[in-house]
C-alpha cells in the first residue's frame, strides 16, 4: 500500500514516516499542496495524510484538486487546526478521519489502517 505524507514540517514528515514505514507501507512525501497534487497524479497513492496550514497551497485546496482526478483516494487529515469551518470543508471533501494535534503515533496508525481496510 502506498501512503503520501503531506506536511510542510520536515519533523512531522519524519515522525509519520517513522510510524508507518515499519508497518510495510510504501511512503513518499510532499511539503506543500502543489507538490501533493503532482505526486498524487503520477504515483496514485492509496492514502494521503494531509496537513492544512502549509505555504504555497493549503491542504484543503490541494485535497479539492486531488479529488477531481483521484476521487477514491483515502485521506486522513493530521492538523493542529481544530475549527468547525475547515473541519466541515474536509468532511465535504470526503476524508476518512480527522486527527487533531497533539497526537500520538498509535492514533495515526489506527486511522490509516482503518481507512485502508474500508477499501
Amino acid at each position: 500500500m502506498k501512503v503520501l505524507i503531506v506536511d510542510d514540517a520536515l519533523f512531522m514528515r519524519a515522525t509519520l514516516r517513522k510510524a508507518l514505514e515499519p508497518l510495510g507501507y510504501e511512503i513518499r512525501e510532499a511539503e506543500n499542496g502543489v507538490q501533493a497534487i503532482e505526486i498524487a497524479g503520477e504515483w496514485s497513492p492509496d492514502l494521503i495524510t494531509m496537513d492544512i496550514v502549509m505555504p504555497e497551497m493549503d491542504g484543503l485546496q490541494a485535497l479539492a484538486e486531488i479529488r477531481r482526478s483521484a476521487s477514491q483516494v483515502r485521506v486522513v487529515m493530521v492538523t493542529a487546526v481544530d475549527q468547525r469551518e475547515p473541519m466541515q470543508e474536509a468532511m465535504r471533501l470526503g476524508i476518512s478521519d480527522f486527527i487533531v494535534k497533539p497526537f500520538d503515533e498509535n492514533r495515526v496508525i489506527s486511522a490509516v489502517d482503518r481507512a485502508l481496510s474500508r477499501q
Binding site: K18, V53, Q83
Partner: protein
C-alpha cells in the same frame, strides 16, 4: 492582560502534550513564571541578552494574512534543539539542525493553533495561522527585531518563562503573545475567548 496569560498557558500545555506524546525520553517542560513587562524589558524577563535562542513566530489573523492581529512566539535556548530532536526522534533519523528547527516549528504550530482554535470557537469564525517562521539569533536581537517591529515601545507584553529539563540540564525558554493594539477587535476577542479554557 491576565486573559492573554490563560491563552498562553493553554498554548504551552498543548505544545508540552505533543512533546510528551512523541518523546521516548523522560523530560519536563515547565512554566516557571509569568510577567507583564514593557517592551524594553522583555529581554531581561526571559534571560541573558546574549544567549542564542531559536524562536518560532506564527501570525494569527482573521482575513488579512499580511496584517496579523496577533503573534505567538515560542523561543528556546538554541543549545536545547539537538538533544531535544534526538530525544524525540530516537536513532535512525537525521536529527541535524534542519530537523531540530522543524521540530520546534511544529511545537510552535501546535501552540499557536491552540490559541487560534479557542478564538475561533468563541467567535464562531475561522481564525487562521500563518505557516510559522523560525529565527535564530541572540535574545536581544530577536526581541528587537520580532517584537519591536510589531508593537509600540510603550506596550506591555505577557511573557511566560519556561524551563526544559533533559539529561540533567536545564534550558531557558519563553512564550509570548503579542496583540496589535491598532486593532481593537483582537483584545475584545481575547476578552471573550478565555471562558472555555
Amino acid at each position: 492582560m491576565s486573559r492573554s496569560f490563560l491563552l498562553l498557558m493553554d498554548a504551552m500545555r498543548q505544545a508540552n502534550r505533543q512533546l510528551s506524546r512523541l518523546s521516548r525520553q523522560k523530560m519536563s517542560l515547565k512554566v516557571v513564571g509569568g510577567r507583564v513587562v514593557p517592551l524594553p524589558e522583555v529581554t531581561g524577563a526571559i534571560g541573558p541578552a546574549d544567549i542564542r535562542m531559536c524562536a518560532v513566530i506564527a501570525g494569527l489573523y482573521f482575513d488579512q494574512p499580511d496584517r496579523p492581529e496577533m503573534r505567538f512566539i515560542l523561543a528556546v535556548d538554541q543549545a536545547a534543539l539537538a538533544p531535544l530532536a534526538a530525544a524525540v526522534l530516537g536513532t535512525g533519523f537525521d536529527t541535524g539542525p534542519a530537523m531540530a528547527r522543524s521540530m520546534l516549528q511544529e511545537f510552535g504550530n501546535v501552540g499557536a493553533s491552540a490559541i487560534a482554535n479557542h478564538l475561533s470557537s468563541r467567535m464562531d469564525a475561522r481564525v487562521h495561522i500563518s505557516a510559522p517562521d523560525v529565527i535564530e539569533d541572540t535574545l536581544e536581537s530577536l526581541a528587537n527585531a520580532t517584537i519591536g517591529s510589531f508593537l509600540n515601545p510603550e506596550d506591555n507584553i505577557p511573557v511566560l518563562q519556561t524551563e526544559l529539563r533533559m539529561d540533567g540540564r536545564t534550558y531557558t525558554g519563553s512564550a509570548l503573545l503579542l496583540i496589535d493594539r491598532d486593532i481593537d477587535q483582537a483584545e475584545c476577542l481575547i476578552s471573550g475567548s478565555v471562558k472555555g479554557i
